[in-house]
């Protein structure tokens, strides 16, 4: 098991085991507590606000924005408005959006509605192909769904899969994210607890390859602690929360 110089693994593990076995005192002063049981809450849970209100408030605090719409058809309409705003500077004509595959977005009649506004979705199947990669990299708006979202931090979870590229929520300067109400949780802890109970946590991590929690637009404060948005990831993030529970 394990690669690397011959015996490195055994040497390291052996030294660690030896130190642990011989030692009377491991830490200067042990805290004397066992591994804590989840949930280990750090954040105060949103008190007087609904989940949606909390999520929207947090996202706005993070320099993102959020719309809440009722039915499925409104989602496509709202999407179109946003895309128009963001691409207003570009030359007129057909607009291409980097997206997850439409059936991963759970919005009825999405493609048809967008097509009426001359907007098409590009859901790449293989971004290791250089020409596809170049095409994806030239697009200014990306659309993704979510695996989960959290009200107390304004975060979303992106889980890659077939039809769900990492690039769509990462490469474009603007990120549109569709948040079905049924996937909005109060806290990370509540979501993790549910995944545990359903026995899905390990599978989700394994199958996604990379699960990403994203909290607001990309930012940096490296230059004199001045906040700057859109360093490598999206500069704007706009969530559209819609009720999929009816």
């Amino acid at each position: 098991m394990g690669n690397g110089p011959a015996g490195a693994r055994e040497q390291i593990l052996g030294r660690l085991r030896e130190s642990l076995a011989k030692q009377g005192r491991l830490f200067r002063q042990s805290i004397g507590l066992d591994l804590p049981d989840p949930p280990m809450t750090v954040f105060p849970s949103p008190a007087d606000k609904s989940l949606v209100e909390s999520f929207a408030t947090k996202l706005v605090e993070l320099s993102g924005s959020c719309d809440v719409v009722r039915a499925g058809a409104d989602v496509a309409e709202r999407l179109m408005q946003r895309i128009r705003e963001w691409t207003a500077q570009s030359p007129s004509g057909p607009i291409e959006i980097l997206s997850w595959a439409p059936d991963e977005l759970h919005v009825p009649r999405l493609e048809q509605t967008l097509a009426e506004g001359d907007i098409s979705l590009f859901a790449p199947e293989d971004l290791h192909d250089q020409s596809i990669r170049a095409r994806a990299a030239s697009i200014d708006v990306g659309i993704t769904g979510i695996e989960a979202a959290f009200a107390n931090t304004g975060s979303i979870v992106l889980s890659p899969g077939a039809g769900r590229s990492r690039a769509a929520g990462l490469l474009p300067l603007n990120h549109l994210v569709l948040v079905p109400l049924s996937r909005l949780y109060p806290t990370f802890e509540a979501w993790l607890l549910k995944l545990r109970q359903e026995g899905r946590l390990e599978t989700l991590l394994h199958e996604s390859g990379q699960l990403a929690v994203v909290t607001g637009p990309s930012k940096s404060a490296d230059i004199e602690l001045t906040l700057t948005l859109g360093v490598h990831g999206p500069k704007t993030i706009h969530a559209i929360v819609f009720d999929d529970t009816e």
């Binding site: 098991m1 394990g2 110089p5 642990l20 830490f27 200067r28 899969g161 769900r164 909290t215 490296d222």
Partner: protein, 480 residues
């Protein structure tokens, strides 16, 4: 002015203290970071968070070998290749070999202290491989040819004006002091690097044993880019980074962010559990994890396991009155500065006396212990290290003789009196500044006045004042 990190300790400190621009930059940044931290921890049950974070880390260190084996098992089950390295050289060789096998020409790196520690960039560049740092701060210091001066804010020592000058020279940017414009220039430059790189390299904030997952946290998204776009992804991790469960990584993530930058959480939390799965549009074809010891098991042998609890948040640097004056480069050619750096730098070194001054670069005020999210008793560790280094014979010989002479004197009141009279007389005739403080003592005491002044010895001794006071008090009570 730049500080020469390989110059002797005294020279580095003197250079740092003489650099007004550095002091301005440090002052602006560390006060801001300390303030935002204070606000962020005031909003939560801080003691509970610290207890939980500490308990998780203690558990991880106590069970380190078992957890590493579990991590390795699950990483392999996830399709990763796992490598073990005892030393920095071995780790660098492993990464260079992976690069050679895949014919890698260009690599992009997400910010990582472990790779700074082992000097991976130099090893790759020696093998003819281009390395581009993609964290904005790291990118800036790479352009400037300097090491980072802070664990989380590597370019904390530069003002916006300094960075602008650098970008104008290196990137041909038009003159501006606007951080947004400088950032846009870097984005454009680095975007093409991400898309063209053959290999992405990251460190590791937490490695989850139960699922075989490498977690990295960033605000800029360079971590997600480096781990998603290139065909090969290599994570380099210190063996102390392993935690048992997914929930532990989430808790520590929140603890490190609140303590480090004062945010609730960082913008990106990327949890990589293997290469791109079949049918996925993107992600690396290969994922490697390099488990690096490089002195960590020795820290355990030397009975300093406390130092392995560190989450690398930087709160102890931001709050330290010494770091705030001298900055990170004065700590020398090390990836780690501030109080935690003064502890781990000599401990990670094969010969701890190579960094023997660092444990003394502290006033032991204790603020580092108060802000540490995992309650590391840094002042205690610094004191213990001073003791150990003295045992190793690294302190000057006259120091022992001087202390013996001192204890001989203070034990005998008559001798003490005679000598203090003599000292008082001497302090009258030695050179002094306008405030009457001594500026030039004879050797070996000259070491003190090289960078400080000494108040002149009072014209009347405490004993004399005490005697007078006693007489006066007696007198007044007699009268009353």
């Amino acid at each position: 002015m730049n500080i020469d990190v390989s110059a002797p300790y005294q020279t580095r400190v003197k250079q740092a203290l003489a650099d007004d621009n550095l002091r301005t930059a440090l002052d602006r940044a560390t006060s801001r970071l300390s303030e935002t931290r204070a606000q962020a921890v005031a909003a939560i049950d801080l003691q509970r968070m610290r207890d939980e974070a500490r308990a998780i880390k203690e558990h991880a260190i106590k069970n380190l070998p078992d957890l590493l084996e579990e991590l390795e098992r699950n990483l392999i089950a996830n399709g990763c290749q796992v490598h073990w390295a005892q030393t920095a050289d071995e780790a660098n060789e492993i990464v260079t070999d992976i690069a050679r096998q895949r014919d890698v020409r260009r690599t992009v790196k997400s910010k990582s202290m472990a790779t700074e520690e082992i000097h991976l960039n130099r090893a790759l560049e020696d093998a003819g491989i281009k390395v581009v740092e993609t964290d904005l701060g790291e990118y800036i210091i790479q352009l400037a040819g300097e090491p980072p001066s802070h664990i989380t804010a590597p370019v904390i020592h530069k003002r916006a004006e300094d960075i602008s000058e650098l970008f104008q020279r290196e990137l041909g940017m038009r003159p501006t002091n606007d951080p947004a414009e400088m950032c846009a220039a870097a984005r454009e430059q680095l975007r093409s690097e991400f898309l063209a790189a053959d290999m992405g390299i990251s460190g590791c904030n937490f490695a989850i044993a139960e699922t075989g997952t490498i977690c990295i946290i960033t605000n800029e998204g360079n971590g997600r880019m480096a781990t998603s776009m290139p065909p090969v992804y290599v994570a380099v991790m210190g063996i102390e980074k392993v935690v048992p469960r997914v929930e532990d990584a989430f808790l520590l993530w929140q603890a490190v962010t609140r303590s480090g930058t004062g945010q609730d959480v960082t913008v990106y939390f990327s949890m990589s559990s293997g290469p791109r799965r079949s049918g996925h549009p993107d992600g690396p074809e290969e994922m490697h994890v390099v488990l690096v010891d490089s002195g960590r098991s020795r820290i355990m042998e030397r009975e300093y396991a406390d130092a392995l609890l560190c989450l690398r948040c930087g709160a102890c640097l931001n709050s330290c009155p010494v770091y705030r004056e001298i900055g990170g480069h004065a700590y020398g050619n090390t990836a780690y500065s501030g109080p935690i750096g003064a502890v781990v730098t000599p401990l990670l070194a094969e010969d701890p006396t190579t960094a023997k001054e660092l444990p003394f670069a502290s006033s032991l005020c204790g603020v580092c212990r108060e802000v540490c999210p995992v309650k590391i008793d840094l002042p205690r560790l610094l004191l213990d290290l001073r003791h150990d280094l003295t045992q190793l014979g690294s302190s000057p010989k006259y120091e022992g003789a001087a202390i013996r002479a001192y204890s001989n004197t203070v034990e005998k009141p008559a001798r003490y009196n005679r000598l203090s009279k003599l000292a008082r007389w001497f302090s009258r005739i030695l050179p002094a500044n306008t405030e009457g403080d001594l500026t030039k003592l004879p050797p070996p005491l000259s070491a003190w006045t090289r960078s400080r002044v000494l108040p002149r010895i009072a014209s009347r001794s405490f004993r004399a004042l005490w005697r007078d006071g006693r007489d006066t008090r007696r007198g007044s009570s007699d009268n009353g």
